[in-house]
């Protein structure tokens, strides 16, 4: 075999190998949760709040955490969206093309993206003390909003950047203002991507535990107020894992399974919606 085809084969093997490795890891993770969690998954787990002694293996469920996570992340996603969209539209429509400010802003968001979530937790906690808030749904929402803001903004930015300048010019040439161009053309063109960005951010937010320890707290009751502590799935997984009781640890796997299924549903829905909204997109 000559050198060039040898090269070709080595790299092919490496690439196939890496792909299989990643697939294997993914399947092992899923397999672990399903095998260990499925036997403990029950209807009552999905529909009840923990009763007394739940963490010692008694009756109850984790509805508190399911609802808590959905409310908290839903709220955080909405908050982040109302900041992300204007920021990205500013960067891509209002700011001058190729300006320094745009470059710096993108860089800052990339840095923010890399900051560990526990740091966001600490920052949220400081803010909370400053405003005299207690651990609560609201504090958790705000903290997670900070955490997912860079993710949502940069993902949105990447798709909106793909909108050709000539398309904007076409709209301007018809006498549209920048505002009209932003909302009637850019948002429509990038809609599938914007939606994906929102759901990626949601997925990231709902899986995060570290930012919530100090800010959202934990409770066994269902979420009832913005100003009360709220339970979340990652933390309920953490607490259940922390016990030595096999029954409770099994439920931790079941909770992880629930979280994974929620994220799976979101991905599937996002795929579906992306296709639907792509109808008018100009390629």
């Amino acid at each position: 075999m000559d050198k060039r085809s040898l090269e070709e084969n080595i790299f092919k093997t490496l690439m196939v190998g890496s792909t299989l490795l990643i697939l294997a890891v993914l399947l092992m993770i899923l397999g672990t949760i399903v095998v260990k969690g499925l036997p403990f998954l029950s209807w009552s787990m999905l529909t009840q709040a923990p009763k007394s002694g739940y963490y010692l293996g008694k009756e109850g469920g984790i509805l508190n955490a399911i609802l808590g996570s959905l409310y908290l992340t839903g709220g955080a996603t909405i908050l982040a969206f109302f900041i992300s969209l204007p920021v990205t539209l500013y960067l891509n429509v209002y700011a001058r093309r190729g300006s320094r400010l745009v470059y710096v802003t993108r860089f800052v968001f990339d840095v923010l993206w890399g900051i560990p979530s526990i740091v966001y937790g600490a920052f949220g906690f400081t803010l909370m003390l400053f405003f005299g808030l207690h651990t609560s749904l609201l504090a958790g929402m705000i903290t997670v909003a900070f955490l997912i803001l860079p993710i949502m903004t940069r993902s949105m930015d990447e798709v909106i950047r793909m909108v050709p300048n000539a398309l904007l010019d076409a709209s301007y040439a018809l006498g549209a203002t920048r505002w009209e161009t932003a909302f009637k053309v850019v948002v429509r063109q990038a809609l599938p991507g914007i939606l994906t960005a929102v759901l990626i951010a949601f997925g990231r937010g709902i899986g995060d535990a570290a930012s919530l320890i100090f800010t959202a707290g934990f409770t066994d009751s269902l979420p009832s107020s913005l100003f009360r502590p709220v339970a979340t799935l990652p933390l309920t997984i953490f607490f259940q894992f922390s016990t030595p009781i096999p029954e409770v640890r099994g439920r931790a796997y079941a909770a992880a399974l629930i979280l994974t299924i929620i994220i799976l549903i979101i991905s599937v829905v996002s795929r579906f919606l992306t296709k639907r909204f792509a109808r008018h997109v100009v390629r």
Partner: protein, 253 residues
């Protein structure tokens, strides 16, 4: 000196950062004729065209000095309202960019921006301008289909109709046939020849044959300078400047 030219350029200079893209351009674009801007790539043809409807604005670091009068108004006057200037001109870009919406909405986009809400009037506008661009027969049964599904040639005609629908008196074309196949190009050229009865048309092109077919008036740019301009026949057949002659003979490009 009063002039009734729609577009009058006076001492126009454009800088991109340190790059001096257009140098002291002064010219009048004759009304209701086809003016073709020719010159080698990078000579400032597109910049000059874009300066007519202030499409240079969104670019960073761009500096414009001098004046461009459109219907007697200096469009680089800081007090000018830019959308009303742009409304006076339809633009065709190199590659057609339909807006991400239906065929109907593409045409209705401009009129709607400028306040037309009456459904019947919009219907009439859409039909009228699609006919003007000779696209009506091909799309009349699928007006609500996404514009992106049309062929490139059809898209360019759609863009023409869309530009005309805001009621401009000027049409700007930036190499409007460069992405099209010969048949579609011919289609567009034919429309231009019809439209010059009612519109002032300015086209950028690097195709000399196209210039010969379309031009009534020619501007030759080289390295940011307006080397020569005049009636097409004079410039193309009997250029006064050496450089123009060399370009037309294909010596410089």
């Amino acid at each position: 000196m009063e002039s009734n030219a729609h577009i009058r350029v006076n001492n126009l200079n454009v800088f991109y950062g340190k790059d001096h893209a257009l140098k002291d351009i002064s010219v009048e674009i004759p009304n209701k004729k086809i003016t073709v801007i020719i010159g080698p790539s990078g000579c400032g043809k597109t910049t000059l065209l874009k300066s007519f409807n202030r499409l240079l604005d969104p670019t960073d670091n761009v500096k414009v000095t001098g004046e461009v009068f459109v219907d007697g108004e200096n469009i680089y006057d800081p007090n000018i309202e830019v959308t009303h200037i742009r409304k006076k001109m339809g633009l065709l870009s190199q590659k057609p960019y339909p807006l991400p919406m239906s065929i109907y909405d593409n045409i209705a986009y401009g009129p709607r921006l400028h306040g037309e809400k009456n459904k019947k009037k919009l219907d009439r506008i859409v039909e009228h301008f699609l006919k003007t661009a000779s696209l009506w027969e091909e799309v009349k049964n699928k007006l609500s289909a996404p514009a992106s599904r049309l062929s490139v040639g059809q898209q360019q005609r759609l863009c023409l109709a869309r530009g005309l629908a805001v009621g401009p008196e000027i049409i700007l074309g930036d190499e409007p046939t460069s992405a099209l196949d010969p048949k579609s190009s011919q289609h567009i050229e034919k429309r231009f020849l019809e439209l010059k009865q009612h519109y002032t048309i300015v086209i950028v092109t690097h195709i000399l044959r196209q210039t010969k077919r379309l031009a009534d008036y020619v501007l030759f740019l080289y390295m940011g300078r307006l080397i020569e301009h005049g009636p097409a026949q004079e410039v193309l057949e009997n250029p006064k400047q050496e450089m123009t002659r060399e370009y037309i003979q294909g010596i410089i490009s």
